[in-house]
Subunit: 124 residues, 2 copies
DNA sequence: CTCAAAAATGACGTTGACGTAAACATTATG
DNA sequence: CATAATGTTTACGTCAACGTCATTTTTGAG
């Protein structure tokens, strides 16, 4: 199929497909000479898998490191192991970010109280 | 004073000063013809105030909306009122972001457990 | 074979706060 | 007055994931 149909079936835009192709997320569509690209149907599944992984919070860069495993090992076991590692990494990262946000929030509250206090005592 | 000295006293780089000038955070240094810029000493205080506001979590865009108040109204009351409004806005935004992060985190945990479960039951 | 739809290619825009480099101008110093 | 030090201007790079033109080429239908 050509890029337009692939885009519809995969629910993305042609621009996205070309972008993914440039990142190596999907194999480059074959073509005769300098004509148009032709994609096998499997590419649709690939786009769907990419979308699923994005929904897990993985970046395209993360995805590029595991997507091939899904299509080499049909059980998907190796892929899932690797994704699991990544998710655990994101969990740790999320916890760090939350801690920072909590700290930032309490600092914000302190600042706010300081401003409120100053304004109160200077309203006359 | 020239840009180099201002940079030292304000603990920023000349690049930063020019950038702030382009954003209107500090008034354009006067100059005779096409010569070098000359900045009044007050500009140092302005840089310090900008730094303080940045420490409160305000963006340069936020700062551009209040910095002038500090140098029009010497009591700084109007400035502080406006900054207080902004801080309250940031607090609300922070709470939203934290709620999102908490939700994201719990979804992450669910995903992780799902992967762990799948791997457990397929390791034989 | 013609014409319109679809595809390809290239490049700029988005967001924030500057860093860094290059080429040229001005100022200060000995 | 020669030269070093400093300043000015312009512009690209950083980071993610594409959107949005604009121009040229290929393809499928009639």
């Amino acid at each position: 199929m050509r890029i337009g149909e692939l885009a519809k079936l995969g629910k993305v835009t042609p621009r996205t497909i070309r972008y993914y192709e440039s990142l190596g997320l999907i194999p480059p569509g074959e073509r005769e000479g300098a004509g148009q690209h032709r994609y096998p149907e499997q590419t649709v599944e690939r786009l769907q898998k990419i979308d699923q992984l994005k929904a897990l919070g993985l970046s395209l860069d993360d995805i590029s490191k595991v997507i091939h495993l899904y299509f080499e090992d049909p059980t998907g076991k190796r892929a899932k192991k690797k994704v699991l590692e990544m998710l655990r990494g994101h969990l740790a990262e999320t916890d760090v970010q939350m801690a920072l946000r909590i700290q930032f929030r309490s600092e914000l509250v302190v600042h706010i109280q300081r401003f409120e206090g100053w304004l109160d005592s200077h309203v006359r």
